[in-house]
Symmetry: C2
Subunit: 342 residues, 2 copies
DNA sequence: CTGAAAGCGCTTACAG
DNA sequence: CTGAAAGCGCTTACAG
C-alpha cells in the first residue's frame, strides 16, 4: 500500500498537482481557486489520508523544520529538563528536534554537527564541549542559525544563553559565610569551560571580599568522567579531622558531584550540616529528600530552553536577523534548605 | 556560499555525477572505476568539503536513516536513560533519532506519530500512552517497523520489550513480608496500562500467597498528572496512627510517586524504616542519598533501549522479518538498601 | 569502465 | 483561475 502523493489526489480529481498543492497549503484564496474545487481537494486528501512528504518539501524549499540539539547527556536530568523544554517549544511552531548527547567529547560533537548538517537542519542549539571552539566558530560563520546554551566561547560572536555563574557562586559562598562557616572548599569538574571557571571565580571573590584567604588546596578539580571513588577521595581529604585541609563547608559546582559527595560524606559517618555544610549547583529531586535537604543554586532551565528556541526560530524566520547577536544572561535562585544549618 | 553538491564535484573534474556518486558510496571497485579517478574524486570532495544531502538521498532511496522515539517525558530520568541508550545504539549504525514526549497524552502521541510519518522515519520506538491503542494498531499494520517499550497492548501483535512487572512486584512485596511487615499498601498511578496493572497484580498475588488478605482500600491509584498534594493525601491516609488504613509498609509503583511519598512521610515526622518500610520501582539517584536509602526494583533500562534499537534495525535491514514478531520480557533486580529495615 | 536520463514528491515561477 | 514545466540533490537502472 503506497502512500498517497499530491499527484494521486490530482489524478483522482483530474486537476493539476499545482492546484492541489496550492489548496493544501492554504493558498486557495490567494490564487482565487473556486470554493468547490477547494472543498473537493480537501475531501479527497482526507479520504486518501494524504500525508505530505516533508522530506520532499524540504528538498524543494530548503527548509526541513528540524532543529539539531547537542547537549552533554540527555540522561542527566539537567539536560533532560532543558531538552524537554526545547522539544516542547519547538513543537509549538511545527519544528522537530534531533537529540544528540556529546558526553563532553569534542570528537563526538564534531561528528554530530556533521550529521546535523547533512540532515539539513534549519538551526542548532548546542551546549558545546571543551575543545570544540573551532567547530563552533565554523558553524557560527555559516548561515544556519545557532544558539549556544549553558556555556559559550568568549571569542566567538554568537547567540548565547547562560546564567550568571559568577554571581551565583558568589551568593552561594556568601550564604555559607553568613551561616558562620569559616573554611569553605569548592569541588568542581574540569570542563575547561567558562561556566565552570566563573563558578570558581565567584567562589574566590566572595572569600576575598569577606577577608578570607583563597587556598588553592581547597579547590578540587575532578576530571569530567570521574568515578565515585575520585569524589570520595576529594571529600575525604577535605573532611577528615586531622587533614590540614579540614573544612566546614563545601560548594559543589555540579549536582553529579554533589550527589556523589553526599554519599561519601554519609559513608564517612559525618552529618550534614553539623559536621559539614553544603551548597550545590542545580536542583535534582535527590536534594529534596536527602538526609538533610540541600541548599541549591537553581537555574531557570525552562527559560533557557524556551528562549533558545525563540531566538533560533526568530532567526530562521528572519534571516536578516542573522547579524543581530543576542547574549542573554539569566539570574539564578538560591534555594535555602537545611544543608547549611539554621 | 552554497553547499557543495555531487554535481559540483562532477563539473570540477569533468566527469559525470553518476561516477562521483559511485565513488563516494564506495562502489568504485564494484564498477571498476580506475584508481586514479577514484582518488581524484575523493580529493576534490574533501577539498570542497562535500557533505551529502541526506534529505535528497532520503527522497530518492526512501530511507531517511532516522528513527522516531515517543516516550512519556524525556525530563524524567527513567526515559532519559532509555532515550540516551537508544540514541547511542542508533548512532552506532548511522541512525539519528527524533525525540517526542507524549506526556501520556494520546492526542499528543497521535500528532507525534503523524509528524514522524510525514518525516518518513524508517522506524518507531514507542512507549504508548493509554487510549492510543487504535493509533498503535494502525502503525503496526503499516510496513514501517515498530517496537513498543515499557508497555504494550495485549491485543496488538507487535514487537515489544518489557519487564516482568508482575514478578518484580511479587518479589518486592515478598521482601517486605520477609522483613516482618504485616500490612502493606500500594501507591500507583492510573495509566490504564498493562505494566502498572501487572505491578499491582503481583503485589496482590504475593499477599495472597502468604495468606494475607488484599484490602482494596490500601491500593491508592492516583491520576497520572498528580500533584504533590495528592500523594501527600494518600500517604497521610496510610500512615496516620488512628487511620483504619494504617500500614507499616508501602510499595510505590513509580519513582515519581516514591520521591513525593518520601517527602510526605518526612514532613509527617515519620521515620523510614522504623515507622514505615518502603520499596519503589525504579532507581533514581535520589534513592541513594535519601534519609534512608531506598530498596528498589531496578529495571534494565540500557538493555531495553539497546534491544529495542537492535530489533528495529534488524527489521529495517531485512523487511522480510516484518512478520516475525518479537516479544521480549526482561528480568528486574531487587536492590536491597535500608528502607525496609534490616 | 563511464554517462545520459529518469524519477523520488514536492513548490513555484511562468504562461495563458 | 488553472496547468505544464523546471528543479531541489541525490541514486540507479540502462545503454554503450
Amino acid at each position: 500500500m503506497k502512500k498517497t502523493s499530491l499527484n494521486d489526489i490530482a489524478l483522482h480529481l483530474g486537476v493539476s498537482k499545482t492546484l492541489v498543492s496550492f489548496v493544501l497549503n492554504g493558498k486557495g484564496k490567494e490564487f482565487r481557486i473556486s470554493e468547490e474545487i477547494c472543498k473537493k481537494v480537501l475531501a479527497v486528501s482526507k479520504e486518501l489520508n494524504y500525508q505530505p512528504n516533508r522530506i520532499a518539501q524540504g528538498l524543494r524549499t530548503g527548509r526541513t523544520n528540524t532543529i539539531g540539539l547537542i547537549i552533554a547527556d540527555i540522561a542527566n536530568p539537567f539536560f533532560g529538563i532543558l531538552g524537554r523544554e526545547i522539544e516542547q517549544e519547538a513543537a509549538k511552531f511545527g519544528y522537530r528536534v534531533i537529540f544528540c548527547s556529546s558526553d563532553e567529547n569534542p570528537e563526538k560533537s564534531r561528528q554530530q554537527i556533521e550529521m546535523l548538517q547533512q540532515s539539513q537542519v534549519d538551526g542548532y542549539i548546542i551546549s558545546p564541549p571543551k575543545d570544540s571552539e573551532d567547530q563552533i566558530r565554523a558553524l557560527a560563520l555559516g548561515n544556519v542559525p545557532l544558539v549556544l546554551i549553558d556555556r559559550f566561547f568568549p571569542e566567538i560572536e554568537c547567540n548565547q544563553i547562560t546564567v550568571d555563574n559568577f554571581d551565583a557562586a558568589y551568593r552561594a559562598t556568601n550564604h555559607l559565610l553568613r551561616m558562620g562557616r569559616k573554611r569553605i572548599a569548592n569541588i568542581t569538574v574540569n570542563l575547561d569551560l567558562i561556566n565552570m571557571n566563573q563558578r570558581t571565580e565567584g567562589y574566590k571573590q566572595a572569600l576575598r571580599d569577606s577577608g578570607h584567604r583563597v587556598e588553592e588546596s581547597l579547590i578540587k578539580v575532578l576530571p569530567f568522567s570521574h568515578e565515585n571513588k575520585e569524589v570520595a577521595k576529594a571529600v575525604k581529604d577535605l573532611v577528615t579531622k586531622n587533614s590540614q585541609n579540614k573544612v566546614d563547608a563545601i560548594l559543589f559546582s555540579t549536582s553529579k558531584l554533589g550527589i556523589n559527595g553526599i554519599e561519601s560524606i554519609s559513608a564517612l559517618g559525618l552529618k550534614i550540616p553539623d559536621d559539614i555544610a553544603i551548597v550545590s549547583f542545580d536542583n535534582p529531586d535527590a536534594y529534596k529528600i536527602c538526609v538533610s535537604p540541600v541548599t541549591v543554586v537553581n537555574q531557570p532551565l525552562k527559560e533557557i530552553g524556551k528562549t533558545a528556541v525563540q531566538i533560533l526560530l526568530g532567526e530562521i524566520k528572519h534571516p536578516d536577523n542573522h547579524a543581530k547577536i543576542q547574549k542573554i544572561i539569566l539570574k539564578t535562585d538560591l534555594i535555602i534548605r537545611k544543608s547549611c544549618g539554621s
